[in-house]
């Protein structure tokens, strides 16, 4: 019997991990997924459930956000000019409106324009209004837009006190409700998503913790054989990431597919309303990427949290 000596064999602790070692850790992490059997199924299930909810929420939220932004952009103040106002007075009013600092644009709309718009917007029934073309009962109007939609209320109230102003319309209640609704919808949606993500992190870290607990003896042996903490940690890290990525596959399929279906079916039905959905491409793919990243993040975070405690063997 003979003990051969290998030429290169150093026993130092390398601080920088070699690339091939990363490959080894990836293989180990992958094998663990397989070795853990039902534990893996449970973890992946937790991530899947979470991400489906998160996916639906994000799709809802971003579309709501899009709708809100569109509506906000469309919020305008209509200033009806008194019927008795003369041309010069109307011009005075216009320059006064333009002087308001919060105002972005002021557009004049004559009573003829107003009538045409009214007729158009009513479609078939609008033709009845054509009778009024000779004797137009409508007011001349200014359409005022503020730079920040949130200023609409104050500016409108202010304009009410101007001379030659008959009426100021801006759908007070609607605007205020919508603005506060979109604001709260964003907050609540964000809070829900964060809550869900943390629940999933907790679930996955618990699952990995169980598998590690079962393996704490093994970790002890690995350390006795000279493994560093990071050497032991890496496969778990990769395992967590794989669990998260695996868990994101079904949610990605479901949300992308679901959005495709909804988008194609709803688009035609709602195209004349102010509601406009985010286009399938690129939105669905961005959503897929987001879900994949959240999945990987949940997995990595969960594994990091659970391994930390067990390395003090």
């Amino acid at each position: 019997m003979k003990v051969a000596v290998l030429s290169v064999m150093k026993a130092g602790v390398n601080t920088v991990m070699k690339f091939r070692t990363l490959g080894r850790h990836a293989r180990e992490g992958g094998k663990n997924i397989y070795r853990n059997g039902w534990m893996t199924v449970a973890s992946v299930g937790a991530v899947t459930t979470t991400l489906i909810l998160v996916g639906v929420f994000i799709a809802l939220m971003l579309n709501l956000n899009q709708i809100a932004t569109n509506v906000e952009k469309d919020v305008e103040i209509k200033v009806l000019v008194e019927l008795t106002a003369e041309e010069g007075q109307i011009e005075d009013l216009e320059s006064k409106l333009k002087d308001i600092p919060e105002v972005e644009s002021v557009n004049f709309s004559s009573k003829e324009d107003e009538l045409n718009r009214l007729i158009e917007s009513m479609g078939e029934e609008g033709q009845a209004w054509e009778l009024f073309e000779q004797d137009n009962p409508l007011n001349d109007a200014f359409v005022v837009k503020t730079t920040d939609p949130n200023d609409t209320f104050d500016v409108a109230e202010n304009i009410k006190n101007f001379d030659y102003v008959n009426e100021v319309n801006y759908g007070q209640q609607v605007v205020e409700k919508l603005l506060s609704f979109t604001k709260y919808a964003r907050y609540i949606g964000a809070a829900l998503i964060i809550g869900l993500v943390f629940t999933a992190i907790f679930l996955i870290s618990n699952t990995i913790k169980l598998t590690i607990m079962a393996r704490s003896k093994e970790i002890g042996i690995m350390k006795l054989v000279g493994a560093t903490n990071s050497f032991i940690r890496w496969p778990f890290f990769i395992e967590g990431m794989l669990l998260g990525v695996l868990g994101s596959l079904i949610p990605i399929g479901a949300t992308v597919g679901g959005y495709y279906y909804l988008y194609n079916n709803l688009r035609d039905k709602i195209q004349f309303t102010f509601v406009e959905l985010l286009p399938f491409n690129p939105f669905a793919w961005q959503l897929a990427l987001i879900l994949l990243s959240i999945g990987a993040f949940i997995g990595v975070w969960g594994s990091v949290m659970s391994v930390r405690k067990f390395l003090k063997v």
Binding site: V3, A4, V8, M9, A11, I221, L224
Partner: protein
């Protein structure tokens, strides 16, 4: 090089396993540790690679002062010491091959070198045909040989074996002793705790006898000295 001065070890449960240990083992020596069960042999060798932390006194291993050794440098200490455990300590879910390879993987050896070297030691301990088995599918003696293979696979400066022949038949025991003598002849320090009177009295080496946590005898070509 192993240097121990006035080393004491008390376990957390209050059991004092060792007291007043003074010991010096030079690089390349072959030393038997003998003594009755519970005398403190495993504890004594365990302190050398930080399986157990000593309570007081000073220990220097291969130039490393264990009192100053930082936690994250412990792997470095262990990589230079091959250990054969009384209870084997094999990784249960890895195959024989993978268990032995693990000691080289932590050193980030190339897969090619790992394969070559693992096959060599498998040959040495006559387990080539069991390379793909997991520990549970092996007999006690076979598991012991796996742990021996793992201990020597990375050419450590010293080797500690805690009853390496406890589960082996006489023939295999002599084979194992031959491996130990060979790696010792190549300059590796060998420290072996044993209950085998036959081995100690046949292959004559330095004998350190431990009783009730104290060194009671230290002879350069000693005898086992106990009736079994």
């Amino acid at each position: 090089m192993i240097e121990m001065k006035d080393v004491n070890k008390t376990y957390p449960n209050g059991v004092t396993a060792l007291q007043g240990i003074d010991l010096s083992i030079a690089q390349g020596e072959f030393v038997y540790i003998v003594g009755p069960s519970g005398a403190g042999k495993s504890t004594l060798v365990g302190m050398m690679f930080r399986e157990e932390k000593h309570t007081s006194g000073s220990i220097t291993i291969n130039g490393i002062d264990l009192n100053k050794l930082k936690e994250r440098k412990v792997p470095q200490l262990r990589r230079n010491i091959g250990v054969v455990y009384q209870d084997f300590k094999l990784l249960p879910r890895l195959t024989v091959y993978e268990n032995i390879a693990f000691a080289l993987e932590v050193l980030e050896e190339s897969p090619k070198n790992i394969k070559k070297r693992v096959m060599e030691v498998l040959d040495l301990v006559k387990l080539k045909n069991k390379a793909r088995h997991i520990p549970d599918q092996l007999s006690g003696g076979e598991q012991q040989r796996v742990s021996i293979a793992r201990a020597i696979v990375n050419h450590p400066k010293m080797m500690i074996a805690d009853e390496p022949t406890g589960n082996l038949d006489p023939d295999t025991s002599w084979d194992i002793m031959q491996i130990f003598e060979e790696i010792n002849a190549k300059g590796t320090t060998v420290i072996m705790a044993t209950h085998s009177k036959e081995i100690v009295n046949t292959i004559r080496k330095r004998v350190i006898a431990v009783e009730s946590g104290r060194i009671v005898r230290d002879e350069s070509r000693g005898e086992y000295g106990y009736e079994i």
